[in-house]
């Protein structure tokens, strides 16, 4: 935060510095006006991020110098973090976006969610660079994008996945629509994968798992119907194919499956209560999936050793205990983190209250100190306050 006077002084200083180093930049061997503009742009951007400069800078009044026509550009760069407007104002972007989702499903079935994200940034970033100063602007994009700009500008290029989706509302429709279709297609694909791997798994596994295989081999066509039996016996469906990115979808599929085939009493309680945790565990530790589905109580007793499937007997209670344990762990961890953060923040705050000044005189009478300061910058409570003179009275 800064008062308007502080902000104005800062703007004045920035312009003064820029104008006075212009000769060095434009002189022989200097990097030129463009780099100077970038310097000013970055500087002002950081100042606005820090809240030390208020709002957009009105350059019309202050820009009287020779650099007038040039300096406004960086200001625009600030407010519209670089690729922002260009990206979806230019027709090329629209041309580039639609093909991406169409192409993605074909090559990268395994990585389905990622390629779309990974490929889209490329055209955007390729367009972004304005001059030879690419690396600088690129470097700045991630920091610059988020804080100041409205949602529509949230740097779509560098942030993967989540923020990309969030940025959706501001994005052109051609880009937004494509992802949904192939996201919808994904669950069936996953089911197939789970199937194949399930077979492999059952082939490796003990005789009891063969029964599982028999189940769904027999009723081969309707995959979803097959799931419950398979799931009961082996319980390994979700985890096997479970790449991290597909978690949510798999979860949904499993839930659906459970809901449909929920006749077995053993299955139901698990699915209702503790779903997230056990599945996460299963996905994260491959050994567990053998007994995860069937015998829940063994999950927390013997986590590291695979269970013989004969011992599988479904009891909901252990899972709940498991969940409870997790719940207990999480609050503790959170509390610990909070405490640490608070301490750190406190220390930071203490050190960030800062007064930088020049002293004219410092005197002491016994334990009473008096000092006169001038030309100071105070950073107090995240506010910048400038002063021409200051008097201090301290008791030691």
């Amino acid at each position: 935060m800064a008062s308007s006077t502080t902000s104005n002084v800062y703007i004045h200083v920035i312009e003064d510095v820029i104008n006075k180093v212009r000769d060095e930049f434009n002189g022989g061997g200097g990097p030129g006006e463009g780099v100077l503009s970038e310097l000013q742009g970055l500087w002002e951007l950081k100042m606005m991020e820090a809240g030390a400069i208020l709002g957009p800078i009105d350059r019309s009044a202050s820009q009287k110098g020779a650099g007038g026509p040039i300096t406004p550009n960086p200001v625009h760069d600030l407010n519209v973090p670089y690729e922002g407007t260009e990206e979806y104002e230019t027709p090329t972007a629209d041309l580039l976006f639609p093909p991406t989702p169409l192409q993605t499903p074909l090559p990268g079935t395994a990585q389905t969610p990622l390629p779309g994200m990974a490929q889209t940034p490329l055209p955007g970033t390729a367009q972004t660079p304005l001059t030879g100063s690419d690396s600088g602007s690129l470097y700045n994009i991630p920091t610059g994008g988020t804080p100041i700009t409205p949602n529509e500008y949230v740097s779509p290029n560098d942030n993967v996945g989540v923020s990309e989706v969030k940025a959706g509302p501001g994005r052109p429709s051609p880009y937004m629509q494509p992802p949904s279709p192939w996201q919808n297609q994904r669950p069936p694909l996953d089911v197939n994968v789970a199937y194949v791997e399930g077979r492999e798994e059952s082939e490796r596994g003990g005789p009891h798992q063969q029964t599982t295989q028999d189940f769904f081999v027999a009723s081969g066509k309707r995959k979803r119907d097959n799931f419950p039996p398979q799931y009961q016996a082996g319980g390994y469906i979700p985890q096997q194919d479970g790449a991290g990115d597909n978690l949510s979808d798999e979860m949904k599929v499993v839930l659906d499956v459970i809901g449909q085939g929920g006749t077995s009493s053993s299955r139901i309680p698990q699915s209702d209560g503790p779903i997230p945790d056990p599945y996460d565990d299963v996905l994260s530790t491959p050994n567990i999936y053998n007994y995860q589905g069937g015998v829940v109580n063994e999950d927390y007793n013997i986590v590291n050793t695979p269970m013989p499937n004969e011992m599988l007997a479904a009891t909901p209670a252990p899972v709940q205990n498991d969940v409870i344990d997790d719940d207990e762990d999480e609050p503790l961890n959170e509390d610990d983190d909070d405490d640490g953060d608070e301490l750190d923040e406190g220390e930071d705050l203490n050190t960030t209250h800062l007064v930088l000044a020049q002293f004219d005189k410092v005197t002491r009478t016994k334990s009473r100190w008096k000092c006169t300061l001038k030309d100071g910058i105070m950073h107090i409570n995240n506010k910048d306050i400038l002063f021409n003179k200051a008097t201090g009275e301290f008791d030691f």
Binding site: A2, T5, N8, V9, Y10, H12, V13, I14, D16, V17, K20, V21, E24, F25, G30, P31, V35, L39, L42, W43, K46, M47, A52, S133, S135, G136, Y139, N140, N350, T351, H353, L354, V355, L356, A357, Q358, F359, V362, W369, C371, L373, D375, G376, I377, M378, H379, I380, D384, I385, L386, F387, N388, K389, A390, T391, G392, E393, F394, D395, F396
Partner: protein, 106 residues
């Protein structure tokens, strides 16, 4: 003209320093030119505080630590009140770093 590097620790100075660091590490700017910019900032900031700023401030508090080293006073105040025309701020602790103003006029 002598200058203080003191103000580089302020918000505006830190922002400039970070910017220059970025541009130098990105190969856009030479370190020598970056230093020139910083020196110009020292001058411009000092001049602006002299000519553009008129406000006065009073600071009170418990002096926890004082130090005078290399012509720089450092005070650490506790329970400090800082009154300016824009209002009063109270902080648990504040650090005051002050260079000798006479050094600039020499």
């Amino acid at each position: 003209m002598a200058t203080f590097e003191l103000y580089r620790r302020s918000t505006i100075g830190m922002c400039l320093t970070e910017t220059l660091d970025q541009m130098v590490s990105g190969g856009i700017l030479t370190p020598e030119l970056a230093i020139q910019v910083l020196i110009q900032f020292d001058k411009s900031m000092t001049e602006a505080l002299e000519s553009e700023v008129k406000s006065k401030v009073s600071i009170k508090g418990h002096l926890h630590t004082y130090r005078f080293c290399d012509n720089v006073w450092t005070f650490i105040l506790q329970n400090a009140q800082l009154k300016s025309e824009e209002g009063q701020e109270t902080v648990d602790s504040v650090k005051i770093v002050a260079c000798d103003s006479k050094l600039l006029t020499q």
